[in-house]
């Protein structure tokens, strides 16, 4: 497979904007195992995942199961391609709690392909959306790891130097930055899909806000790639082209509207407008136009 074929496959597989309905034989449930008492010590982690102190007590586990069940129902009914994707690539989720991590968090590691750690997922007020994001995020990592094992790494795997993620602000190595571009692309397509499917402003607003956060980072990706500090030659050219394609597809304020309105009024209209729906259509086109 050529590098552009791999990159195109990523654009297609990681796009969850899909009008197809859930197959009748696909249950609205996750297939991966929930491991509440992992024996595995997760590599390079903030706490010992095998410690009993990191395990939810038995009476607290139903709450976590309920959150994950709600995520499966949300994906199954509104974003079935995402549910199928998680079920295809995630095998086990280690379910932990810890004071060593502030709030809810999730993690993957290329040494443990097929598994992830979900920590403190009971904590946030919007636990279902948070867990939706975490599971999609970590499953995308599993897919990327598997692709790299099969077809070669997307870039140099050295841990230094590090670069600031335009999404999280964290300093991360080059390979994490490259993964982040595809993770945030996948998440963006998922939020756009949910935006089109959920009803009512109470549900639309948080989904649209998450899409906006995902979009924000892409506004700076091309600037980062062009920076003399960025080792562009250490990244597969097909992967670079795919990232540039994603970054170039982000919508911005309507210029025609700006000709006749103030910036404040345009921003108001933009916020309440259908930009996420238009973006969903644009993202679907990117995936559809990426040849096999």
């Amino acid at each position: 497979m050529t590098s552009s074929a791999i990159a195109n496959a990523l654009l297609r597989e990681l796009s969850f904007c899909d009008d197809a309905a859930r197959p009748a034989d696909q249950p609205c449930a996750f297939a991966f195992a929930l491991d509440f008492e992992p024996g595995l010590v997760w590599p390079d982690f903030a706490f010992d995942t095998s410690s009993p102190l990191a395990h939810y007590p038995a009476e607290a586990r139903d709450e976590v199961r309920a959150i994950i069940g709600a995520v499966a129902r949300l994906m199954g009914t509104k974003a079935p391609k995402a549910l199928g994707f998680v079920n295809a690539h995630m095998k086990t989720a280690l379910i932990c709690k810890s004071d060593a991590i502030e709030g809810a968090s999730s993690a993957s590691n290329r040494e443990v392909v097929g598994s992830c750690v979900l920590t403190n997922i009971h904590a946030p007020a919007d636990s279902v959306l948070m867990c939706t994001e975490a599971l999609a995020h970590e499953t995308i990592h599993q897919y990327l790891y598997k692709t790299e094992v099969a077809d070669g790494n997307f870039c140099d795997l050295t841990e230094v130097p590090t670069y600031r993620s335009p999404w999280t602000g964290n300093r991360i190595p080059l390979h994490s930055f490259v993964h982040a571009c595809f993770v945030w692309y996948g998440l963006l397509t998922l939020w756009c899909q949910l935006y089109r499917q959920v009803g009512g402003p109470d549900q639309v607003s948080p989904v649209r806000d998450k899409a906006s956060r995902a979009m924000f980072g892409f506004a700076f990706v091309r600037q980062m790639l062009a920076s003399p500090a960025f080792p562009l030659t250490s990244v597969d050219p097909g992967i670079v082209a795919a990232i540039e394609c994603i970054a170039g597809s982000m919508p911005t304020l309507d210029r025609a509207d700006l000709e006749k309105s103030t910036l404040r009024d345009s921003l108001r209209r933009w916020e309440s407008g259908d930009w996420a729906g238009q973006l969903a259509t644009g993202l679907q086109q990117i995936a559809a136009l990426a040849p096999a």
Binding site: P161, T162, R164, R255, K260, S261, L263, L267, R268
Partner: protein
């Protein structure tokens, strides 16, 4: 006049007390091109910012305008976004700015993911990235705050986003170190500051005993910054040293040198020169 040469300088500012905005407004008559100063509220509530910008009866053609970006508000934190109605609008404003500013014939700094003013980020960013780009640049030995005990020397702990703080000596217990702080070995010498506009520099508080090699090191650093960086207006801090100076930070706001009487003259001359050179390169 070449096609690429601007005929106007548009100053976008959010704080009239910013040394750069203040100096440009006060010294407008000495600039090579006419200055139009537009505040943040005028940008958001009055201007029409389409293919060309229209404001106060004026038409501003970005392709013929040098933009001086002094939208410094974000450095004060999230509360600074209160001029808009939601965090969504603020993010969209920020990304719109990032795209829009690239349309101008010259821009003094492009927005970055950490700042609409554009910057090299935190001390951690600067100490990690700049030595990779600029051969021979010395930065303090450093690591996460929790590693303070393994660093040797006069170890300080600092919030890496406070570019003008040296932090405090690392005497506290590890458990009380704030999250996200950085530990570093503070060099022995005093700090001095270098203002840079394009390739022009002044160092009003440079130690008088600096010898030629040390000064050459500073000049070499600023030449590299001028060549590498889209941030044209900067202030750098160095520790004086027996050997070559040790870089501490670079900031797009001239907090120290901007207070010097000579700064306004320096800024006007440096900006005139930088815009002219940029337009000559663009026309070549």
């Amino acid at each position: 006049m070449t096609h690429a040469e601007p005929n106007l300088i548009l100053l976008l500012y959010s704080d009239g007390s910013d040394p750069v905005a203040r100096a440009l407004i006060e010294q407008a008559a000495r600039l090579r091109y006419e200055l139009l100063a537009m505040s943040l509220s005028q940008l958001v509530d009055e201007a029409r910012v389409g293919a060309v910008w229209k404001w106060g009866g004026r038409t501003i053609d970005p392709s013929r305008t040098a933009l001086v970006n002094r939208l410094v508000f974000v450095e004060t934190g999230d509360g600074a976004a209160s001029f808009l109605e939601s965090s969504f609008q603020y993010r969209e404003f920020w990304t719109w700015l990032a795209g829009q500013m690239q349309r101008f014939a010259y821009v003094s700094s492009l927005p970055s993911p950490v700042s609409p003013l554009g910057s090299f980020g935190s001390l951690a960013d600067q100490w990690s990235e700049l030595p990779e780009l600029i051969a021979g640049l010395r930065v303090p030995a450093h690591g996460p705050a929790a590693s303070a005990h393994v660093l040797r020397g006069d170890v300080y702990v600092v919030n890496p986003w406070h570019l003008y703080s040296l932090g405090s000596r690392a005497t506290m217990g590890r458990e009380s170190v704030p999250r996200g702080h950085l530990a570093y070995v503070r060099p022995a010498g005093k700090l001095f500051h270098v203002a840079q506009v394009g390739s022009a520099i002044i160092a009003p508080n440079a130690p008088p005993h600096m010898h030629r090699e040390q000064w050459h090191h500073v000049e070499s650093f600023t030449r590299s910054m001028s060549a590498l960086s889209s941030n044209r207006i900067l202030e750098h801090a160095f520790f004086d040293s027996d050997e070559v100076p040790v870089f501490y930070s670079t900031c797009p706001v001239p907090v120290v040198t901007g207070r010097q009487p000579a700064y306004a003259d320096f800024l006007v001359g440096g900006l005139n020169d930088d815009i002219k050179r940029h337009s000559e390169r663009a026309a070549a």
